[in-house]
Symmetry: C2
Subunit: 420 residues, 2 copies
């Protein structure tokens, strides 16, 4: 999906087109001269590239509004609010969601539905999701947007470089490939990718900044811990996801924290999920782990903790301690700059963080300098439970930003122009 | 140290020079046509690059011995056995070592000395090491080799991009920069780098292959666990060291394995080092943790275990269990292809591996496929305790292979040619 790095004429042009559209997307409206300064190319070269992007409908001219410093004011360029859209879909344990974002990063359509996907047959779940994808692509067609790619977020392990969900324990899925069904039932755009939800949550942080206001973009090295029903993590090194050899990196939920402790569904004992997973916390709080409704369980915990319920507070405190032990190991191994708590953990952060940080501090005393900042900064993601879905939509659109005039997209433009 | 990636004429020439010398180093003797085929350049371009490398004394012609397929046999090219040498130095807790390797990867000089560096003043240690470096560079001068770089391996945390040993607990060093002393006391070649010994052990695996016979090169994604007195690890992803934001990644020794367990010198409880570190194992085996002599303590453990001593066998078995718990966490987070046990752990692997693998298997049952290879392969490094020193010497030479005619080297060549 990323622009090939070959030193061919074509490869260099592709990279330069990507640089131009990314500069405009990040800083627009901006003049051609402004783009040239940002990407380090001549104004003439930039003009040629901009013309190609204008013809493809990826950029638009916003009028002579942006002074370029000297000479006559250049015409402003911005990425188009019509044209390609990234489609993100999410298969949660008790919800389904689909959204579309445009090149400006705005959400243009969004559907969410309650669902009972725990231990489900994949067929009906994918049929229902396909219907939602079709509804979203129909809606955006009225906005002059066409789907440029689809990324599906799943709560499980996805084989590296493939679309197969190898194991999603809370869905009860093994070796399920959603791609053929979604291709058959929707006008599913290429590329169609399937990705672990914690990874997409991390990419949302990286691409969207730390919050809806665009501030607080995390540094290029961070650990993103995510929870829906299970607990996962994504390791970001130098702005890139660390995927692992099989694509299974980031399985924080099965890091041993109390090695002789509670038996886990995975066959081991004392896994983090048995102390900080949703079912464990609900049980410890004296609540029904099967209490239903999307996100209702997390809200129930948050409400009771906010109301001062002692059992709930203690359950969350102990979960924070377990998270702190597991994260101590992760921080020692990876030395990230920041740990972000995403998904349900973001919502519950006020009650998890004190014990989590206490553990991390006490266990990171092997400080480089007694006075120096000796431990990693831990904070809640401001995207929270929305991260995976937004990350999925952005991942789908990322392919356009990395290779703006790639074949599959010019094909789609041709089809669109010829009314197919 | 790696060749800059800029698309300038100079940058492209530098990359191509590196490609040529690396192809010859890997496959020589080889003809110019053979090099051209391997690196994907024209024969004319390769001839120009080869001439520059011959003039600098980095390549030599080995005579018309290598048939190139058709036409007259090409003259064979090999890397020079004279010229630049990489100097590796190692500061161990109870030894010092220095070695020099040539471009062919052969060890041309090596000195090892017993030392009592635990809780030492840095000055005398560095003075002694400087003397050994000078002796090695004097020895190789007689072999027509000149030092092209020096890398110093230390058992501690080194600040990223710097030469400062931030903390080496078993030496008792904090914020010690060996570079100024070594520069002042030796004709220490540039570049002079300081690096964590576990990282260099991992680089030795990567660059030297899995063993002295060159076979068994690890895959590009592996975890290298190393022990001298402490326990460290290096994370290699896609052939590159993962360093962490501060340079402290790979601190496996302080991953919590029994969180309520034995107090550790770092201030935490239940760190891996308290169960699998050298002192802990010696104590559990009923031996004196202060038993002295370089590597003598590890040999003592190995001898007693081989002789069937029950206390020693139990101590190593429990150490393997603790390693297995810590590595389960690391494998879940990183999904490497292989875990290599280096340093003292390589020597003790026969007694550590059974319980280590038992733990890892039992805790990795969240297998993608019930039938598939569900867990990482664990094996002993064949370089063992030599890894860090050899890795250091190779790291020093690597700068030549990555930028063969870099300024500091042409300066050194000029000085050498003018007899300075």
């Amino acid at each position: 999906m990323s622009a090939p790095g070959a030193d061919t004429q074509q490869g260099i042009r592709r990279r330069n087109l990507a640089r131009v559209i990314q500069a405009v997307a990040a800083d627009g409206p901006v003049s051609r001269a402004g783009v040239a300064a940002r990407v380090g190319l001549t104004r003439a070269a930039v003009s040629t590239l901009v013309d190609a992007l204008l013809r493809a409908g990826l950029l638009i001219e916003t009028g002579p509004a942006v002074p370029s410093g000297r000479g006559r004011p250049g015409s402003g360029l911005a990425v188009s609010g019509t044209g390609p859209a990234g489609i993100g879909a999410e298969i949660g344990v008790d919800h389904l969601a689909v959204c579309a974002i445009d090149l400006r990063g705005r959400i243009r359509a969004r559907l969410t539905a309650d669902a009972a996907n725990r231990n489900s047959a994949p067929g009906p779940v994918l049929h229902r999701l396909a219907g939602m994808i079709t509804e979203v692509t129909d809606r955006i067609a009225a906005l002059e947007l066409w789907p440029a790619g689809l990324t599906v977020a799943v709560p499980g392990l996805v084989a590296r470089g493939a679309t197969t969900v190898v194991h999603a324990p809370n869905l009860g899925w093994r070796d399920v490939d959603p791609a053929p069904v979604l291709r058959a039932l929707t006008a599913a755009p290429q590329p169609l990718t399937v990705e672990n939800e914690a990874n997409l949550g991390a990419l949302a942080e990286l691409w969207l900044g730390g919050g809806p206001d665009g501030a607080g973009t995390p540094p290029p090295d961070f650990l993103h811990v995510s929870a829906e029903v299970g607990i996962g993590a994504a390791v970001v090194v130098d702005g890139q996801l660390l995927r692992g050899v099989r694509g299974f990196a980031g399985e924080l939920g099965h890091v041993p924290v109390y090695p002789g402790g509670r038996p886990c569904g995975c066959g081991a004992r004392g896994c983090l999920e048995q102390y900080a997973g949703e079912a464990a916390v609900l049980r410890a709080a004296g609540l029904d782990p099967d209490h239903s409704g999307p996100r209702a369980r997390v809200e129930l915990l948050a409400r009771r903790a906010a109301a001062g319920d002692r059992a709930t507070s203690a359950a969350l405190r102990n979960a924070g301690t377990a998270l702190g032990i597991a994260l101590t190991g992760a921080v020692h191994l990876l030395d990230p700059e920041v740990v972000l708590l995403g998904g349900a953990l973001a919502r519950l952060a006020p009650w998890l963080l004190p014990s989590l940080e206490r553990e991390l501090t006490a266990r990171s005393a092997v400080a480089p300098h007694p006075g120096a900042a000796s431990r990693v900064q831990v904070s809640a993601s401001r995207w929270g439970a929305d991260g995976p879905l937004l990350g999925a939509a952005h991942a789908a659109l990322r392919a356009v930003l990395d290779d703006p005039l790639g074949r599959h997209r010019t094909d789609a433009v041709s089809r669109r122009l010829s009314g197919e």
